[in-house]
C-alpha cells in the first residue's frame, strides 16, 4: 500500500517537515477554512429554511480545497474546481457576496440565475472555470486550458479538482491520457472523500489506490492526507513546480471524508455507517490546523474567536446583500445562448416578454417579478 503523506497528525502535532510558510499565509489558510466551514453551515440552514434551493456540504474536506488553492498563483494560474470546493474560491478572495449571488441565482449572479446553486463561475481574482454538473467533463478542458498557456510560452498551471467517483468518468480517462501525451502543465487533484453519493470507493474502483491510476497514463501519482492542509499544500506546490518547469502533469489523491450528505437532497444515514463518521470526526481538518497553529503560537484563543466572529459577520452581510437582489430579468433566459441573439431567439424573447407582460408577470430589463 502506498504511504500517505502527513505533516500534522490528528492531534495537531507536527509529524513531518512543514513547508516554510509566512505567518500571514498560514493565517490566510486557516481563515479560509473557517469561512468555508461556517459558510457551508449557513447555506445548509438557508436551504432547510427554503431561502435557497440547494447546496453541497463541504464539511470535512476543507483542507483539500484550501491547501490546494494556496499553492496556486492567482496572477498566472487557472483553477477548474469541483462543486465541493468552496474553499478554493474563498482562499483566493472571491467575494462571499458574489458566491451568495449564485446561491440565490439573483440578478447579479455571474451565471444569471441559470445554474443551480454551487455551480460557480468566476474570472476574477483568478479564473475559476464555470462548474458543470456532468461529472468529469472539466478534466480534458483543464488540459486544453493548460496546453494553451504552454503554446503561448506562458508558465501558468491549471489545477483541476474532482471526486473519487469522477475517476470513473470519461473525462478522467481522456484528460489524464492527453495530459500525459502532451506533458501538459496540469495538476489533477482527486478529492477522495470515500463516497460518490451512496457508492463507496470499493464499488467505484477495484484499484489499490486512486493515485496509482496515474500509471495508466504515465502521470506520476501521490497520495496525501486530505485532512492535513499543510500536507496538501506541499504536494500540490511540488506538482505545480514540476508543471511550471515543463515536467508535466501529476495526479494527487487527497484522502478525506465527506462528513455531510452528498447534497441537501441526500439522506446519508441510509448508507453511511455512524462508525465511519465517528472515526473521521476525530481527524477533523479544521481542528487539526487550529491546534497546530495554537501550538506554534501563530494563533491564540482570542484570535480564534475574532476570526470566527469576523467570518460570521462577513457571511451574514453577504447573505443579506444577495437576498435583497431581484431575480434576473426575463431576457436572461435568452441572452448568452450565443454571442448575439439570432433572429429566432429575438422573436422568442420578444414573444416571451410580451406574453408575461400581458399576464402581469415579470418585466424584463428591471428584473422585477411579483411574488
Amino acid at each position: 500500500m502506498t504511504e500517505t503523506l502527513q505533516i500534522i497528525d490528528p492531534a495537531g502535532k507536527r509529524v513531518g517537515t512543514a513547508p516554510r510558510l509566512k505567518r500571514e499565509t498560514l493565517l490566510r489558510m486557516y481563515r479560509a477554512m473557517v469561512v468555508t466551514r461556517r459558510l457551508d453551515d449557513r447555506c445548509l440552514k438557508l436551504q432547510r429554511s427554503g431561502r435557497i434551493g440547494f447546496s453541497i456540504p463541504n464539511t470535512g474536506i476543507e483542507a483539500v480545497s484550501v491547501g490546494a488553492a494556496a499553492a496556486m498563483d492567482a496572477a498566472r494560474d487557472w483553477i477548474a474546481p469541483s462543486y465541493r470546493d468552496f474553499g478554493m474560491m474563498i482562499y483566493h478572495d472571491v467575494s462571499l457576496e458574489a458566491m451568495m449571488d449564485t446561491q440565490y441565482g439573483n440578478s447579479e449572479d455571474n451565471a444569471r440565475g441559470r445554474q443551480m446553486p454551487v455551480h460557480f463561475s468566476f474570472r476574477k481574482p483568478m479564473p475559476f472555470l464555470s462548474i458543470s454538473s456532468p461529472i468529469g467533463t472539466h478534466l480534458p478542458q483543464a488540459v486544453g486550458v493548460a496546453m494553451a498557456m504552454r503554446k503561448r510560452g506562458e508558465d501558468g498551471v491549471c489545477l483541476t479538482s474532482f471526486g473519487d467517483g469522477g475517476t470513473s468518468s470519461l473525462g478522467f480517462h481522456s484528460g489524464l491520457n492527453f495530459a500525459g501525451v502532451y506533458s501538459a502543465p496540469v495538476v489533477f487533484l482527486c478529492q477522495n472523500n470515500q463516497w460518490a453519493i451512496s457508492c463507496p470507493l470499493d464499488k467505484q474502483t477495484a484499484s489499490e489506490t486512486i493515485e496509482i491510476k496515474g500509471e495508466a497514463y504515465g502521470v506520476p501519482g501521490i497520495r496525501v492526507d486530505g485532512n492535513d492542509v499543510l500536507a496538501v499544500f506541499r504536494v500540490v506546490s511540488e506538482a505545480v513546480k514540476r508543471a511550471r518547469a515543463g515536467e508535466g502533469p501529476t495526479l494527487i489523491e487527497a484522502v478525506t471524508m465527506r462528513m455531510g450528505g452528498h447534497s441537501t437532497s441526500d439522506d446519508p444515514t441510509r448508507y453511511v455507517a455512524a462508525e465511519q463518521l465517528a472515526e473521521w470526526a476525530a481527524k477533523d481538518p479544521l481542528k487539526r490546523i487550529r491546534e497546530f497553529l495554537l501550538g506554534e503560537g501563530v494563533l491564540d484563543p482570542a484570535a480564534v474567536e475574532r476570526i470566527e466572529a469576523e467570518a460570521d459577520a462577513e457571511i451574514g452581510a453577504a447573505i443579506k446583500a444577495a437576498e435583497a437582489k431581484p431575480r434576473p430579468g426575463l431576457d436572461t433566459v435568452f441572452t448568452d445562448t450565443y454571442a448575439e441573439l439570432p433572429a429566432h431567439l429575438r422573436r422568442q424573447r420578444d414573444w416571451c416578454i410580451e406574453h408575461y407582460r400581458t399576464r402581469g408577470e415579470g418585466v424584463s430589463e428591471e428584473g422585477e417579478f411579483p411574488l
Binding site: 444569471r112 456532468p134 470513473s168 448508507y271 434576473p328 436572461t332 445562448t337
Partner: protein
C-alpha cells in the same frame, strides 16, 4: 388496485417484472441501498439481492455498455440513468450499439434492454437536471421511445417495455413523480407500445402532448371549455417511436386544428415531426396553422424555469390562436 404516485408505479412495475422473470436486472448509480435518487428502485436490493439490483461506478457508458452485453446474453437489464441530462456519455453506446445491434448482425445479436431515466423541468434543476432530450432518441432508428404520463401507464408501459425484444428509452416525467396519484392494478399487466391515449374528447381542435405536458394541456382545455364552451381533444402520445402515425393523422383530420406541445426546445424538437407528418399527409384538412407550444431554443435556466416551460396559459393562447384563425 392501489393508489400510487407515478414513481411508486414505476417501482411497482420493476418489482412485478423481477418477481416474474429471473433474468430482469436493475443497474445504475445509487439504485441499490439508497434506492435511487428518486426512490424508484427502493427495496429492490433488499428483495432481490445485489446480484439483481446493483450500484454501478459513475459511468453511463459503462452502465449502458454492460447492459447491452447482459441483454445480448440472455438477461433483461433495466438500466437507470440518474438524470436524462447525464445520458450523453452513453450516447455512443445507445445510438451506435444498442440501436444498431440487431440490424448489423442480421438479428443474431439483439438488445432487449430498457433505459429508464427521469427527464424534464419543474424541480429547479437548472441546465443539467431539467432537460428533455426525446428528439435525440426519436431520431434514432432501432430505438423505441416511451413517455408515460399517469401511474397506470407508467407501470403498464414499463412492463411492456421490459418484455419488448428491442431497446426502449423509458423517459419518466420527474415533475409528475409525486405530483399525481392514480389507480394502479396489482400484478402484471401491460399497456401496448405504439398506442396513443385520448385524454379528453372534443373536435374543435386537438392537442398532441406527452409526459409532464399532459396535465398542463388538460388544464388548458378545461379552461377553454369553461371560457368558450369549445371542446378540445387532448391526445397523449405515450410512445414517441414507433409513433402510431395513423392515430395522429386521424385525430388531425377529424379536428382540422392542431396544437403540438412539449417542454423541449422547439427547433428540430419532436413537435416538428408531428407538424411535418400532418403537413405531408393531411394538410388539406387543416383549417389553421399547426401551432407549437414548446420550451425556448436556449439551454434550460434555473431561477426562471417557470417562464421557460410551457404552462396551461401558454397552451390556451395557442389553442385560441388556432380556434380563432
Amino acid at each position: 388496485m392501489s393508489n400510487l404516485t407515478l414513481v411508486q408505479a414505476v417501482n411497482d412495475g420493476l418489482k412485478t417484472a423481477m418477481r416474474l422473470d429471473e433474468s430482469v436486472l436493475v443497474l445504475g448509480e445509487d439504485v441499490g441501498p439508497k434506492g435511487g435518487v428518486f426512490l424508484a428502485t427502493e427495496g429492490l436490493t433488499t428483495e432481490f439481492g445485489d446480484e439483481r439490483c446493483f450500484d454501478t461506478p459513475l459511468s453511463e457508458d459503462g452502465i449502458i455498455g454492460v447492459g447491452i452485453g447482459l441483454a445480448m446474453n440472455g438477461m433483461r437489464p433495466v438500466c437507470e440513468i440518474q438524470f436524462q441530462d447525464f445520458i450523453y456519455p452513453a450516447f455512443d453506446q445507445i445510438v451506435s450499439e444498442a440501436a444498431k445491434m440487431r440490424y448489423r448482425s442480421g438479428g443474431q445479436y439483439t438488445v432487449p434492454m430498457v433505459i429508464r431515466t427521469p427527464y424534464g423541468g419543474g424541480i429547479r434543476g437548472g441546465l443539467y437536471h431539467s432537460q428533455s432530450g426525446e428528439a435525440y432518441f426519436a431520431h434514432t432508428a432501432g430505438l423505441k421511445v416511451v413517455v408515460p404520463s399517469t401511474p397506470h401507464d407508467a407501470k403498464g408501459l414499463l412492463l411492456a417495455s421490459i418484455a419488448d425484444p428491442d431497446p426502449v428509452m423509458f423517459l419518466e416525467p420527474k415533475a409528475l413523480y409525486r405530483s399525481i396519484k392514480g389507480e394502479v392494478p396489482e400484478g402484471h399487466y401491460t399497456v401496448d407500445l405504439s398506442t396513443t391515449r385520448t385524454v379528453t374528447e372534443g373536435d374543435a381542435a386537438v392537442v398532441f402532448c406527452y409526459g409532464a405536458m399532459v396535465p398542463v394541456c388538460t388544464t388548458a382545455v378545461e379552461r377553454i371549455a369553461e371560457q368558450r364552451g369549445k371542446q378540445v381533444r387532448v391526445v397523449d402520445l405515450r410512445t414517441l417511436l414507433p409513433l402510431d402515425e395513423e392515430s395522429v393523422l386521424d385525430h388531425a383530420r377529424s379536428c382540422g386544428r392542431v396544437v403540438v406541445v412539449h417542454e423541449a426546445p422547439r427547433f428540430c424538437g419532436y413537435g416538428a415531426e408531428l407538424s411535418a407528418l400532418i403537413a405531408e399527409n393531411v394538410i388539406e384538412y387543416m383549417e389553421a396553422p399547426i401551432a407549437r407550444v414548446t420550451g425556448f431554443d436556449t439551454p434550460f435556466p434555473n431561477t426562471l424555469e417557470h417562464y421557460y416551460m410551457p404552462d396551461a396559459r401558454r397552451v390556451m393562447d395557442a389553442i385560441e390562436r388556432v380556434l380563432d384563425y
